[in-house]
């Protein structure tokens, strides 16, 4: 059966990786993007996610250059998101070497773009990134968590699936950067409501949280703070999970 996935997720801003708490508090630096991606490839991470937090009007060429360089260094799938407002923007990212792109605000403001992206690039390529606040009763937020929408995460996940998105990245803003554990209730409910895989994000504090998410039926988790600010690595995490009987890839690194 398909292995449970552990996916490092990093945010990009002004040339380096950054990390916040609950999206906007306590900015911390997280290192250089390309060398970090390379390290996680060497650790044998299952995939990699990088989201661009630059202002929407900023020139995209520096970020595209980072993606292009990254694709030469890593031999695992990687998903890229942030400020994607057109088919051309998706085309540029895929041509630079991204395997999948995430759409977030467009799910609400431009569903036509999402459907067109699915038609042009295929479902497998288009990931719906759904951010929400308010545990337990969730409210989907867009524009980097700044703008509220009328939707619950469950409703938005169903809509995203109906638009043809091939995967859902589900992020609990309230848990982001806190290491207090995933919001398993929403994770479980959303995965039960859709056929496409859900990647649970926001709040991972370590191995126990990954295990709990996988036991709740999630096929994948995204992790950032634990990797950036503790001594945990994908190898350690997987070794723990593997010995606990969780169906992950064994805990050795890539030999690249």
């Amino acid at each position: 059966m398909v292995k449970r996935r552990i996916i490092p997720k990093f945010l990009y801003q002004n040339g380096c990786l950054v990390k916040y708490v609950r999206f906007h508090e306590t900015r911390r630096l997280g290192g250089a993007p390309v060398s970090t991606a390379r390290i996680y490839n060497d650790y044998g991470a299952d995939e990699f996610i990088i989201l661009d937090l630059s202002p929407p009007d900023e020139d995209r060429s520096a970020f595209l250059g980072v993606i292009e360089e990254m694709s030469r260094e890593i031999f695992m799938p990687f998903t890229v998101g942030g400020n994607i407002r057109s088919i051309d923007a998706i085309y540029d990212l895929l041509r630079a070497g991204a395997d999948k792109v995430t759409l977030n605000t467009a799910l609400v403001t431009d569903p036509g773009l999402v459907a067109e992206a699915v038609r042009v690039f295929g479902s497998q390529c288009i990931v719906a990134s759904i951010d929400y606040t308010g545990v337990p009763s969730g409210r989907v937020m867009v524009e980097g968590g700044r703008t509220a929408t009328p939707w619950t995460p469950l409703e938005m996940a169903r809509r995203a699936e109906a638009m043809g998105c091939g995967e859902i990245l589900l992020t609990a803003i309230d848990r982001d950067g806190t290491r207090l554990g995933f919001d398993l209730e929403h994770g479980r409910a959303v995965q039960e409501a859709v056929r496409v895989p859900v990647v649970l994000s926001g709040g991972c504090g370590g191995y126990q949280d990954c295990r709990a998410a996988f036991e709740a039926g999630l096929p994948a988790v995204a992790i950032s703070s634990v990797f950036l600010f503790t001594d945990q690595s994908p190898i350690k995490l997987r070794t723990h999970l593997f010995s606990a009987g969780v169906d992950v890839r064994p805990g050795h690194g890539s030999r690249i």
Partner: protein
């Protein structure tokens, strides 16, 4: 020289990067003379069957591929959708004829409780018969490769099946006939297993 066929679908850069890592200088091309000069042919692919087949026909690549692969017997690797195109028939967005090099049909993965579609992630590849490109991997535990797909190949002749994988149902992970090899997974996204796979593909029949 290795030709990566550029027919307007999929991420050809990652295949290029992998071969580059192995010290080769592949060409990404739709030019018949470059394809005729190549020693190995790679048919990549992400996207939908009908559009991909339409592109191969519109770019007049079907003829040159048949000459070089079926006529000249050059080693040919189809990846993901590139593997599915080897089949006689696709059923994604309507019934479409494929290249027909393998007697097979491409169908949607069956729904099953607790099974997510697309099949996305790393999964074990179990060999069903020897093949030079997969023989260097241990039989147990079976190697894992990265997958992302919603359709799979159903072979008419079981002898064509080289390896299988389970995702709810068991499906064909690798198919081969003579100089043709197709894999449903993405070796260029499969870290060290992928490197080994491409190394052995480039040694095959050369």
């Amino acid at each position: 020289m290795i030709a990566i066929i550029d027919y307007g679908v999929g991420n050809v850069r990652s295949v290029f990067n992998m071969l580059d890592l192995l010290g080769h200088r592949p060409v990404v091309t739709r030019d018949p003379s470059a394809i005729a000069d190549a020693s190995h042919i790679i048919l990549p692919g992400v996207g939908a069957f009908a559009e991909a087949m339409g592109n191969l026909e519109r770019l007049e690549l079907k003829g040159v591929l048949e000459r070089e692969v079926l006529g000249q017997g050059k080693p040919c690797l189809g990846i993901c959708l590139g593997m599915q195109l080897l089949a006689r028939t696709g059923t994604e967005r309507g019934v479409t004829s494929g290249l027909g090099w393998i007697d097979a049909r491409v169908e949607r993965l069956a729904d099953a409780p607790g099974i997510q579609i697309p099949h996305m992630g790393w999964n074990a590849v179990e060999r069903r018969r020897p093949h030079p490109v997969l023989d260097s991997f241990p039989a147990a535990p079976p190697p894992t490769f990265y997958y992302v797909h919603s359709y799979h190949m159903v072979c008419a002749d079981p002898a064509d099946v080289v390896a299988t994988t389970r995702h709810g149902v068991e499906f064909v992970a690798a198919v081969a006939r003579d100089n043709i090899l197709g894999v449903q997974f993405h070796p260029e996204k499969s870290q060290d297993n992928g490197i080994r796979f491409y190394r052995d593909f480039l040694r095959w029949r050369s």
